[in-house]
Symmetry: C2
Subunit: 399 residues, 2 copies
């Protein structure tokens, strides 16, 4: 590396995330052996088209709205009508008291997180993440100047290990990121779990005489597959919650970068936090969230892509892999299967999978070695084609 | 302020930029006295609709493209075909040798700048800005961990004051931001100026034995109004140039956040810089530039909104204001008029203008006190309505 550029940025840019690396490998491999012979389970790129309301609203806006208004700057925090629609939806759906002025529209979940973390960051602060976790959390937390503290979830069901969590909380703890439904485990934290978490954090706030926030990273909120599974709305259980939402997965719009931050009125110093969010958005160069995609929100909020396909994929994969001898915890939500590697070294396991052109992500970068993430936001047909490869891989270990 | 949030972010978010502040005031004032009685020249929000190719391409993409591909993640650096279209255009238009792999698509000019600055930043580095300058430069530079050094342009014509620039360059200088056509002065740096600048920087690189970059911030490149005005393409004159481009103004899409960074092959260590750009984009939470708006680029690059309206506005305003006794340097490009305040204190001057419901921005935050910025990307009709107010304001000072 030259001595001209930032070492940190060079390191982040020259070494792609393992997920992206595998995805790029898949594209090359497809060129070599054909798409029908590669089973790419690497990326969390929704495979189900956006719901019709997206196409219809886009077409209507483009044909009927004055382009100067349609494509012009919105306020930095987002169009007022769009924020009102978000507030109405959250109020009606979750019974959470909030107004348009509590919402800040963002360029998707990653922006929601970087902006929130930069807004909260003070010297010495620590942020707890629950492993397994989305690997970019560590990048976002350290870039915001805070320390990332990892706490492992219970291996049986990927729920919170409260003893481990309690041991990690200290006088520097500023926040804990909760990602439920979870990437990569698919686990959904139950109401009981959230109540227990809230109680523990209330105690910690008193003990350390400081505010501790839950940052609820919720791009998968709508992606749950069984009627009895509810995703608790965390601000209803714990006041100091900041919600980081994205429409990427619910509306199948990951490339369009649209989401929001909600700082509910019950969060302490909520106006100060909101202003700091505005400041962080400004400092990071986010002028406003993309205007056209902001404007589809009032028509599309609460709708989802056809997620029955993900449910079908989940069941197909879970059943087949269990049958082949893989250890699988059936995921309640998101579109990932977190399967135990068939040897201790998950990277070695995923390399062996690669030899079958099965592209699955080693779990090490999720802070939870020994597993692999299988994204099932793919075509059912590809899963069907891939099953013999999964079987052959298992057989390699059973010889 | 509470002691919970980042002081820096709170300060940035609670105190809006003066421009945004004035714009919000304008919206309130319109509600009070009616749009026909407020003359809002505060914002650089294009008033001319996007060219037809934008609407047509959007409609075609939305109706004909598979939504999964259309709205899916692109590679972090941008869709390969889109980057190829940018490379072809730059090669054909400016004769600059470059390829798709030298382009990184961004969420607009602010993102181009924050990402580039974070990519280059090393401890102790300084970045020179030429006053008058876009106020957010100081935010972006300090947020990236560098020192912002201001050098004033010549007051006669807003061209570079080379003696002042030479005095500011030292062993810490990492880059200089060149914004031509300029916001807020409208000045375009001539080929002679760019040649002289290149020569001076070549000398400085030798003298201090380090690489010094020009960061060419070029959202206004296409907005020039006279046939004899050319905007030199800086990489053709100085190798260590990084181009930060945005389609916001040329295509009248400021809210959609689409632009690019070009690290030309002739820039030293260009691969290292490119990787650091990828890393900075990742660290700041930019997953990819908005997918749909990336995909209009191949059809729309090189086209512009109907800029003859801006020319008409410029001429109307320049002629009238000169007649009323204002000191005006006729701008060659962008859509701003930088007019000398009629008293020493430009903020006091702009407050007096506000009493006439003339919303113009005091120049202090542009690093060049004593002036006001008048954005003429407004309707010609509003300018006509505003002229009596400009006249009355001038007469207040001539009593």
């Amino acid at each position: 590396m030259s001595n001209i550029v930032s070492e940190k940025m060079y390191a982040l840019g020259s070494k792609r995330s393992e997920i992206r690396e595998l995805f790029e490998y898949g594209k090359k491999r497809i060129a070599e052996v054909g798409a029908e012979n590669v089973y790419d389970f690497s990326l969390g790129n929704p495979s189900v088209p956006a719901p019709d309301c997206v196409k219809n609203t886009l077409a209507k806006l483009v044909s009927e709205t004055d382009p100067v208004a349609l494509h012009g700057y919105t306020s930095a925090q987002g169009d007022a009508g769009v924020r009102q629609a978000c507030a109405d939806y959250v109020k009606n759906t979750h019974g959470c008291d909030c107004s348009a002025d509590d919402f800040y529209m963002t360029c998707g979940a990653a922006a929601s997180l970087t902006i929130t973390l930069n807004a909260l960051s003070k010297e010495g602060d620590e942020v707890i993440v629950l492993a397994p976790f989305f690997p970019e959390y560590t990048v976002f937390i350290t870039q915001a100047g805070m320390k990332c503290v990892q706490v492992k979830c219970s291996e049986e069901d990927f729920q919170i290990d409260f003893a481990a969590l309690e041991a990690a909380i200290n006088e520097h703890t500023k926040a804990i990121i909760i990602n439920s439904p979870n990437n990569p485990s698919g686990a959904v934290f139950s109401e009981d779990t959230i109540k227990k978490l809230a109680e523990m954090l209330e105690g910690a706030q008193k003990k350390y005489n400081r505010s501790i926030f839950i940052i609820a990273d919720e791009p998968y909120r709508e992606l749950v597959y069984d009627a009895d599974i509810k995703v608790p709305f965390i601000p209803n259980y714990y006041n100091n919650t900041i919600v980081c939402y994205s429409f990427s997965k619910s509306l199948s719009l990951p490339g369009e970068r649209i989401g929001y931050i909600l700082v509910p009125p019950k969060a302490c110093d909520n106006r100060d936090i909101y202003f700091a969010v505005c400041g962080a958005g400004r400092a990071l160069g986010y002028v406003c969230a993309p205007s056209l995609f902001q404007k589809i929100v009032p028509e599309c909020i609460g709708k989802t892509a056809d997620i029955s396909i993900y449910k079908k994929n989940r069941d197909l994969l879970c059943n087949a892999l269990s049958e082949y001898g893989y250890k699988v915890v059936r995921p309640d939500g998101a579109f990932y299967l977190f399967v135990k590697a068939l040897e201790e070294d998950s990277r070695a396991f995923c390399e062996k999978a690669k030899a079958h052109d099965l592209l699955i992500v080693a779990s090490d970068s999720f802070g939870f070695p020994g597993y692999a993430r299988i994204s099932y936001c793919v075509s059912t047909e590809m899963i069907e084609r891939a099953l013999p490869a999964f079987k052959a891989l298992a057989e390699e270990y059973n010889k």
